[in-house]
Symmetry: C3
Subunit: 152 residues, 3 copies
């Protein structure tokens, strides 16, 4: 008996001009604007969107139903999520996955964890943060859970 | 003079039917049940066990002396540990490594860190948590350090 | 139109005797002492230094202007940083990147995040910590933000 091995792939991707991906990465069914940069060891699932000039750094994971705006910086090791494990079960049907929207000009520090939220334009998330609630007021946020620290 | 380069490998693995690994991953000397799924960019060390139907998502690290039950979900970027750095030194002898036991039906959110603990059946660990103590009562836990939030 | 794909590489590296790298890793323009070990899925940028006998475990990211001493242990999934996003912008010019110095004999637990700081000799950082300030007194630190827990 053999174990089934599947190689990481870059597949079914729509993208604008001047996009770069450092391999190995596992990216399928996503849509990119122009000038998008993706570092190595990144996984990006289908039904996600990454806007113009946005950089997704190494070791990040972007799941289904995540939409990231223009000119964003997604730090190394950032993990997005779309399942809140309601009732202690994982959702096997993607129609129950929750959406995440990162507006334009958002900077997310490395090793952050982003629950299914909206983060407003121009906000900064400190490294190592866990963002559990919508961020409606532009500012600098950090901590676990992430809290408002100060204005920019 | 050359630097020694060693390729990641899938080696000395015991496994049940219908297991899948997305490459590249570095997995050696582990034992899997059936229907185990391992995402890309995962490292799993020897003397570990992963139960039937459990999914280990991308970017995770599972070390020696970690035993994971059936039907578990190990979120993206989850890091297990087995050395408590007692006396400010790393343990070079694996007989001093501490054990971790994750019971059946446990869900661990992405980017969590699991110290050498026992987590009881059916518990849910929120994304970005750091679990520093045994979890004996089924429930939802989150934070750094992870604390009981509510029942499921 | 094609997307630009660049393979991870080990390039422009200076190193002492008996160094080992597990591939795939993306490492360029760094300098290593002797007996350095680098696990898989690691990115190390130029203008960084890693001292004799130091181990950098899987899934870690070491950026420009990070200097790590001798006999250190950098746990799995550790993320270093060099940009404090001042004024809500990323620094495109590396002369504004901040330095990090990890002294000899420092142990950093897995999934930690290290802001641009100095960590003094022999200190221990617990797994899952976010180190936001200089550590001047040898001891065990943990949490987000990391705080002094006890002496070693």
């Amino acid at each position: 008996m053999k174990i089934k091995k599947i190689k990481s792939k870059i597949k079914n991707l729509k993208f604008g001009i001047n996009c770069t991906i450092i391999e190995p990465s596992n990216i399928y069914g996503s849509k990119f604007g122009k000038n998008v940069f993706i570092g190595p060891f990144v996984e990006i699932q289908k039904n996600s969107y990454i806007g113009d000039n946005t950089r997704v750094q190494s070791h990040s994971f972007i799941c289904e139903k995540v939409k990231i705006g223009k000119n964003c910086f997604i730090g190394h090791g950032t993990m997005f999520t779309n399942d809140d494990f309601k009732k202690g079960k994982i959702n096997r049907n993607s129609k129950y996955f929750k959406k995440t929207v990162i507006a334009d000009d958002v900077l997310i520090g490395s090793n952050s964890t982003i629950l299914p939220v909206h983060i407003c334009r121009g906000s900064v998330i400190g490294a190592g943060s866990v963002v559990t609630k919508n961020i409606k007021k532009k500012g600098i946020y950090a901590g676990n859970p992430a809290k408002y620290l100060r204005k920019i």
